[in-house]
């Protein structure tokens, strides 16, 4: 995984063949990727061709205010998959957790990769950036902000991995002591792909990488920068428990009859209806399951502000904050205004009623 200088000129195809991946499995991967990304089948050969010949792209991975959960997610596979190998096949020139080098050598590797691939390397960021006080998080004495600005300058594109890098995530949660912000709030002049999730689904990363290697462009993104192919549908719309929701069958507690029967977890706080991610279709742990399948409501981890979006176990229709006072004041104000307006309206109507003269049959013609 670390920088192997002699492998630099190898293509992805070479690496895969060396690892004993058959052409059949390779094409299967291309087909799966194409279908996952909603590309027409005619694109499969294009993907295969592009990946075959792709030079291992240089990737610099910066970790800021994060928990390494995203790296864990992306590297933790129970069997060797092509997704992993694609990862193995990129030239991951800098990654705190994974690189062998440390200290000055590590920083030198980053500088060298930047210089060598200026304008072409991919920058992956996980973790948020503290703007409150740069001292909250530094690497080799360099603040996260400075390192991001320096590294982003020569990047072809930036992938914000995880909700922290994409939207600020947990460090950004109230009261946000470090003044944490997302990558997108700092960098405005580079294409940024947000791959949120706490952690994100590994296949989304490889999908984005494949797209980049095949077309040299980034996939279509939604209004908050997420690839539409993976984040286009809500968990709720794709949830296998949706039929229970439609029928109004809900688990009321975690140990009631409804919970045992696998009914909808909406009332237990499921954020599925407002969360856009691919969990319900691609699932986790090599397609084993996803949280709702294990009986737990969706937390909505791929959405901005997910940590401040109300209690995890509060149903979506409940207010997220203590708003009783606001409600009372607003209601009181509205009632007062309503009474006042009502009185005025009533006055208008009463004067009309008062000036009513009984209509008789003699009053029907002019």
């Amino acid at each position: 995984m670390t920088d192997i200088p002699e492998g630099k000129d190898e293509t992805l195809g070479d690496v895969l063949r060396q690892r004993g991946i058959s052409r059949r499995s390779f094409l299967k991967f291309c087909a799966t990727t194409a279908s996952m990304m909603a590309l027409p089948p005619s694109m499969i050969p294009t993907i295969a061709h592009a990946l075959e010949r792709a030079k291992k792209p240089s990737v610099i991975w910066l970790s800021f205010q994060e928990c390494t959960g995203c790296t864990e997610s992306l590297t933790r596979a129970h069997s060797v998959t092509i997704e992993n190998l694609i990862f193995d096949s990129i030239s991951l020139d800098y990654h705190h957790t994974l690189q062998a080098a440390s200290g000055h050598a590590a920083e030198e590797a980053r500088m060298a990769a930047m210089e060598e691939n200026y304008g072409k390397y991919l920058l992956v960021v996980d973790g948020s950036i503290p703007l409150g006080n740069p001292g909250y998080s530094t690497i080799a004495g360099i603040s996260n902000y400075d390192m991001l600005m320096e590294t982003a300058k020569g990047a072809a594109a930036i992938i914000s991995v995880g909700t922290c890098a994409a939207y600020g995530g947990i460090p950004h949660a109230k009261p946000n002591p470090t003044g944490a912000v997302s990558v997108g709030e700092i960098i405005k002049d580079k294409p940024i792909i947000n791959v949120p999730g706490c952690p994100p689904i590994p296949v989304v990363i490889t999908g984005v990488l494949t797209h980049f290697l095949t077309f040299g462009t980034i996939p279509e993104l939604d209004h908050i920068g997420r690839p539409k192919v993976f984040y286009g549908q809500s968990i709720h719309d794709r949830c296998y428990r949706r039929t229970f929701y439609d029928k109004g069958q809900f688990a009321e507690t975690f140990d009631d009859e409804g919970a045992r029967k696998g009914w909808c977890l909406y009332k237990l706080g499921c954020k599925g209806p407002t969360t856009y991610n691919a969990c319900a279709t691609t699932k986790w742990n090599n397609g084993t399951s996803f949280p709702i399948e294990s009986g737990h409501p969706c937390l909505g981890c791929s959405e901005p502000e997910f940590w401040d979006g109300g209690g995890f176990y509060k149903a979506l229709s409940m207010p997220t904050e203590d708003i009783s006072k606001t409600v009372i004041y607003t209601a009181a104000g509205a009632v007062a205004a309503g009474v006042a307006i009502g009185a005025i309206q009533k006055g208008r109507k009463n004067s009309a009623v008062a000036s009513h003269s009984k209509t008789t049959i003699d009053d029907l013609e002019k």
């Binding site: 309206q345 109507k349 009513h356 009984k358 209509t359 008789t360 049959i361 029907l364």
Partner: protein, 418 residues
């Protein structure tokens, strides 16, 4: 001779209440009411859009009761209600609307558009923009007691004929009877057989009933022209008679708007609840059927269908009763494509039949009923409203169709066990 624009505007102001405000502010201009209206479907004229017919009332609501409208009015802007508007709207409000209520059924936000048009008529009438024919009918209702000018001696003459034909006594002014039957002038003049049919059925079922010599007229022109003051006066006559004869139930006859006027609008018009019940004749007959007091002995093999009178079925909710009763004698009953609460109006309700100016359009929109009938080709049509019946007959003749019209009460009486 004192109708004036000023009076009309004042009446429209009076008509605006929370219901009206809620309806106008929630209209999303989707136009779904358009396709529900036979005056649009048969003419293709978009000015027949139901909600548009309430435009005078909408303008008053907007300019008097909304902030933006009041500001606009302050600056002399906004759309005004003037003589021209009311003149232009006369034919939309009176000739091209039978208050059938079909538009209210399809409104996705639940606006009772029919109510808005009915309220618009209040202002139109007070401003002197009601049609001549309706004004004349209303005058006759108030002065003579019947829109067709039927006086008590005419009824008494018909009663004598019926008594001779049936051999039964028609009770008049019998105190303490269970039921007091109202009649529409049309029944008295055109279909006196109805009186005989009721007498026969009630005699068989052992029901005590009576007519009132003081208030036999069921119709209410005040409702049709849109003058609540007059409508209330006419309802009061029935209330007084029913209280005088101490009856338990007043029966509305085979007439659409009469039922709506006495049962649903009545208590609101006179401002108090009645101390007697009001039922439609079909409700009473179905109740007798349920109690086993009605038995038929012969079946009708003709292909029969039922035309739902709007005010009885859609606005009145009497939908299953006629079908239960028809089931007692019809072997071959077929329904029209749109029926029950979604039936199509005959085209002459809501005062349109009293308005000669609307003769042409009411026969034109009859095309809708014709299409419905062409689909099932019945041998005869049963209905429960004399006004529908007369207009259906006229429409069928106009379109060269030969299908007889039957009164449900009359045909039921014919099939009764001897």
């Amino acid at each position: 001779m004192s109708a004036s624009l000023e009076k009309g505007i004042n009446v429209l102001k009076e008509q605006v209440d929370s219901t009206v405000a809620a309806f106008f502010s929630s209209c999303v201009h989707c136009g779904m009411c358009t396709d529900a209206c036979l005056f649009y479907t048969e003419t293709g004229d978009p000015s027949k859009t139901p909600i548009l017919k309430a435009e005078p009332l909408r303008r008053i609501w907007k300019s008097e009761y909304t902030l933006s409208g009041r500001i606009a009015k302050l600056f002399g802007l906004g759309k005004k209600v003037d003589e021209k508007l009311l003149t232009d709207w006369e034919t939309l409000v009176y000739d091209s609307c039978t208050l059938c209520g079909r538009c209210s059924m399809v409104c996705p936000v639940g606006n009772d558009i029919t109510l808005l048009i009915r309220k618009t008529r209040e202002g139109m009438a007070a401003a002197g923009h009601a049609p001549e024919g309706l004004i004349a009918a209303t005058k006759r209702s108030v002065t003579i007691g019947s829109p067709m000018g039927v006086k008590l001696p005419a009824l008494q003459a018909q009663i004598r004929h019926v008594e001779k034909d049936t051999g039964l006594t028609i009770p008049v002014d019998v105190e303490g009877a269970d039921y007091m039957l109202l009649l529409s002038s049309m029944e008295i003049m055109h279909f006196p057989e109805f009186i005989g049919a009721v007498a026969k059925i009630f005699n068989k079922a052992g029901v005590t009933w009576t007519l009132s010599s003081e208030a036999f007229e069921a119709t209410n022109s005040g409702i049709q022209i849109g003058v609540s003051d007059i409508a209330a006066e006419l309802v009061q006559r029935t209330v007084d008679a029913a209280e005088k004869l101490k009856v338990k139930t007043v029966i509305s006859p085979e007439c659409g708007h009469a039922y709506m006027a006495i049962r649903w609008d009545g208590p609101n018009l006179v401002g108090k609840s009645f101390n007697f019940k009001v039922r439609h004749i079909l409700e009473v007959l179905d109740e007798l059927r349920q109690q086993g007091r009605l038995k038929t002995s012969s079946m009708d093999t003709q292909k029969l269908t039922y035309h739902d009178p709007c005010q009885i079925s859609r606005r009145g909710g009497v939908i299953n009763e006629p079908r239960n009763l028809i089931g007692m004698f019809a072997e071959n009953f077929v329904e029209m494509s749109d029926r029950g609460k979604m039936n199509w109006c005959c085209g002459a309700g809501g005062g349109v039949s009293s308005n000669e100016r609307a003769d042409e359009i009411r026969l034109k929109v009859f095309q809708r009923k014709k299409d419905q009938l062409d689909e099932i080709k019945p041998d005869a049509i049963i209905s429960a409203c004399s006004n529908c019946r007369l207009h259906l007959e006229e429409g069928l003749e106009e379109y060269g169709m030969d299908i007889p019209l039957l009164s449900l009460t009359e045909i039921l009486a014919e099939h009764l066990e001897d």
